[in-house]
């Protein structure tokens, strides 16, 4: 079985480009050898003067058609390794007419003109100039012609299906037509211009016979073990099974399957099968192309619902087909429709993509229920497999090397990124740099391609408490407007306030977006290292960032903190400056701190040299916190006044030091001080 660049999703790799270049050389060579470097010759067909175009085109088409028939029939290549262009009736008919007019006017088409330029034809150069203008014109008029561009969009259609023939039968008839055209062309040329060199020549007789015999051979190509050959005689089969849809016993069989939920596959089971590279498993994403582009299960193919039956025909009753969407309704309906068409191997993913994300991909740390070590290991392996790439388009398993273009910064994600690492990643797709400095600072100069965001746009009044991180659906909306997708690798950049970066980090924590890092040393270090900056606003295309199904599991409210105070066993870390903790200073209703809270100012975790603020070395932080918190599994609640400074300690403990049970009291002292029923250790009193 041959794996093509297309099949591996690797058409944009350097090796595919090289292959395309080499194929192009052969293409150009054959065109020029055919004499297609001459517009006079190309136009000849329209005046019945020189039928070379017909002869060459038809010979090439029939050769490739027969060859492809054998390759598919013998199972050397699977249809899913090939790119089949969709049929768009309106656009292709109207486009074809226009193209024909342009072709006869100029005597060129794009491929032949490239060859024409190579052989010195000035008219070919003029034509190409015109074609460039025409392309630009199309782009400029696209808003107007868009509806024609998709007019009559019908998915991948095979002409033999439309005619109710088998592939072999149609190929045979087309070959006969081609041979007839060859002889007809020679005859016309003989009559018109005394040419027709090959009329009744031994060559043409041999060539014609060989083509017809090869076409006949397609009838006897054995059905490939993959069922490929069978699929290509699809039309007849469809028709016959369609006529049976009224068959009551079939319907009751179908309903029995539905009743027994035999048509479902559980997310965990699917994840394991995909991870193991189960042969014959075809996972189909039936959501919109945009959603697919944004994220899909690694290895899944995208097929719109209307195209399912024809596109899945090759896999009918061969292997296993699993359909998924966000939910279950569409796949279920599609499965039933396919079952009526005779498909017996179609399953739907229980709970859809949402369920898959929740059950397989949700980090252990965010789960309500404790997981066993085996479960955790499984989840970790699923996460690495299904959430690997920085870009939304994930490559199939065979190309693990292209799937992970990002060497991870320092200690994995979420974590810290070095300026050196970031500099090496600039411009890579899927990398989003988030600049949280002030707007004037950003506007003056920033890391090329970075997006500006005001931290305040992520915060607001929630249930009467000011300066709260907004609910996930609002955060997701912000990220959509910034063109972010869940698979983006986000690097957050601040000037010299790491707690600004960690507050932005909380946005991603709340969304369950693990692929984020904070630039250690920030923009100031970037600048002192003379790394590239510019002042260009990047173009942003709005995306659809779906918020997670459930709320985050690390944010706690006053009631939870109060319970922790009363029951003990939880470390309450107040990370405000010491004077505020001690109540010597206050911006709030009351001064002091939560009973039992210990003070570790957030600023103790970073070190400043000149203008550059960096996180202290992990070993140093490790030692400092080991004195405050009994173990990595201890329950820790972190708070400050508004949740801002606390976000930094949260990041340090959870992401740099690996504490597993870290909670964030976002409302903080602002709320605690303002609610007189909550106990405090007031100013002047001794800390307990």
């Amino acid at each position: 079985m041959i794996e093509t660049f297309f099949g591996q999703g690797a058409l944009s790799t350097a090796s595919a480009h090289l292959a395309a270049l080499v194929i192009g050389v052969f293409f150009g060579f054959a065109l020029e050898q055919a004499g297609f470097g001459s517009s006079r010759r190309l136009a000849g067909i329209f005046y019945f003067r020189d039928m070379a175009v017909l002869k060459v085109m038809f010979s090439a088409l029939v050769t490739a058609m027969i060859g492809l028939g054998y390759l598919l029939g013998l199972g050397w290549i699977h249809p899913d390794q090939l790119y089949f262009m969709p049929t768009v009736y309106g656009a292709q008919i109207f486009g074809g007419l226009l193209f024909g007019v342009g072709f006869v006017m100029s005597g060129w088409c794009p491929g032949t003109a490239a060859v024409g330029v190579a052989s010195g034809k000035i008219d070919a150069l003029i034509f190409l100039g015109g074609a460039l203008i025409g392309s630009v014109l199309f782009n400029e008029l696209f808003p107007i012609v868009k509806s024609y561009y998709t007019w009559g969009e019908s998915g991948v259609l095979f002409v033999y299906d439309a005619m109710g023939l088998s592939r072999a039968a149609f190929a045979f008839w087309l070959t006969l037509v081609a041979v007839g055209c060859f002889w007809g062309s020679e005859y016309i040329e003989r009559k018109k211009s005394g040419a027709g060199l090959y009329w009744n020549s031994p060559f043409l007789r041999t060539f014609s016979t060989a083509l017809v015999l090869a076409a006949v051979g397609l009838f006897v190509v054995p059905a490939a073990p993959t069922g490929t050959a069978a699929s290509f005689s699809g039309a007849g089969e469809h028709a016959s099974s369609m006529s049976q849809t009224a068959n009551a016993s079939q319907e009751s069989k179908l309903l029995a399957t539905v009743d027994a939920a035999e048509d479902h596959v559980e997310p965990e089971a699917l994840a394991d099968l995909m991870l193991a590279g189960e042969p014959g498993l075809l996972v189909v994403d039936v959501r919109s192309p945009e959603e697919y582009a944004q994220f899909h299960l690694r290895g899944a193919v995208h097929i719109p619902l209307p195209e399912l039956a024809p596109r899945l025909a090759p896999n009918k009753n061969v292997g296993t087909i699993v359909l998924y969407s966000n939910g279950m309704t569409h796949p279920a309906q599609a499965r039933d429709s396919l079952a009526r068409l005779g498909f017996r191997n179609v399953f739907i993913l229980t709970d859809g993509l949402g369920g898959f994300a929740e059950r397989c991909l949700k980090p252990v740390s965010l789960r309500m229920r404790a997981t066993t070590p085996e479960q955790s290991a499984k989840i970790a392996s699923w996460r690495t497999y299904f959430l690997p790439a920085a870009s939304g388009s994930l490559s199939p398993p065979a190309h693990a090397d292209t799937a992970a273009p990002f060497p991870l910064p320092e200690r994995g994600l979420p974590g810290l990124a070095t300026t050196e690492w970031l500099a090496s990643q600039l411009g890579k797709p899927g990398l989003k740099i988030l600049d949280v400095r002030t707007q004037p600072e950003y506007n003056t100069r920033h890391i090329p391609g970075s997006l500006f965001v005001s931290l305040e746009s992520f915060r607001g009044i929630v249930k009467g408490v000011p300066s709260m991180l907004l609910p996930s659906r609002m955060l997701a909306l912000h990220l959509s407007q910034m063109g972010m997708t869940p698979s983006d690798l986000v690097v957050i950049v601040t000037a010299d306030k790491p707690h600004d970066a960690t507050l932005a980090g909380m946005v991603f924590e709340r969304l369950g977006h693990d692929r984020y890092a904070i630039l250690n040393g920030g923009f100031n270090q970037w600048l002192t290292e003379n790394r590239p900056v510019d002042s260009v606003l990047p173009a942003v295309r709005e995306s659809v960032y779906m918020p997670p199904v459930s709320a985050d599991s690390f944010t706690v409210d006053a009631a939870a903190v109060l319970e922790a105070v009363q029951q003990g066993g939880t470390v309450i870390l107040d990370v405000r400056p010491e004077d505020f903790y001690l109540g010597k200073k206050s911006d709030e209703a009351r001064a002091g701190h939560i009973p039992g809270a210990i003070n570790r100012p957030f600023s103790d975790d970073v070190a400043k040299t000149d203008t550059i603020v960096r996180f202290k070395p992990v070993q140093e932080l490790q030692a400092a916190y080991a004195k405050l918190i009994p173990s990595k599994d201890s329950r820790v609640i972190i708070h400050c006044r508004t949740g801002h400074q606390a976000s930094q300690t949260f990041f340090v403990l959870k992401r740099l030091l690996g504490y597993r049970n870290v909670l964030w009291y976002d409302a903080g002292w602002t709320e605690w001080a303002a609610r007189p029923e909550l106990p405090i250790v007031a100013a002047g009193a001794k800390a307990q």
Partner: protein, 174 residues
């Protein structure tokens, strides 16, 4: 001997053999790339690159070219078009067929021929975007795959061509 065109006809390869080679090339493209041949795609990428150089933000914001990002030329069909040029050059060198000329009928004016070549180019550039391919990408490739839309495209190209042939015939008058 009418002119050089006739003599070049006799020196070109047997068209059936050339077509066979072209068919094998297409098969190779299916086997390695998983996609067929294409020429207008590379041309459109070039157009996007040029428009992008002249009006970067406008192009990136446009709905069609904008999808191709900052480096539209980084696409397999751009490389294929470059290869096509190189292959043509190799073949023309080998057969000694490189001759700078504006090919036209002897009694046709250069202006007429150049004008028609330009207008035809604009039409072809536009319509190949509309139809998502040209004679290579739709007619030949899709035709060999027996795709309905591609075969319809091929038929309508010839319909359009024969329909307009009469009106542009003067450029080939000898």
């Amino acid at each position: 001997m009418k002119n050089t065109t006739v003599s070049s006809v006799t020196t070109t390869m047997n068209p059936y053999l050339a077509g066979f080679l072209l068919g094998l090339t297409l098969l190779g493209s299916f086997l390695f790339l998983g996609a067929g041949l294409g020429a207008s795609g590379g041309l459109a990428r070039m157009a996007a690159q040029i428009e992008g150089a002249l009006a970067p933000s406008h192009t990136l914001a446009s709905e069609y070219f904008g999808n191709w990002g900052h480096t539209p030329l980084r696409y397999y069909l751009s490389y294929m078009l470059l290869g096509t040029f190189c292959g043509g050059l190799l073949s023309a060198l080998r057969s000694n067929r490189i001759q700078p000329q504006l090919e036209r009928g002897r009694s046709a004016s250069a202006g007429l021929r150049a004008g028609l070549a330009l207008c035809g180019g604009v039409l072809v550039g536009f319509s190949s975007r509309l139809a998502q391919g040209c004679t290579s990408g739709q007619a030949l490739t899709g035709g060999a795959m027996l795709l309905t839309g591609s075969l319809l495209f091929m038929v309508t190209v010839f319909l359009g061509g024969y329909g307009a042939a009469y009106f542009v015939r003067r450029q080939w008058d000898d």
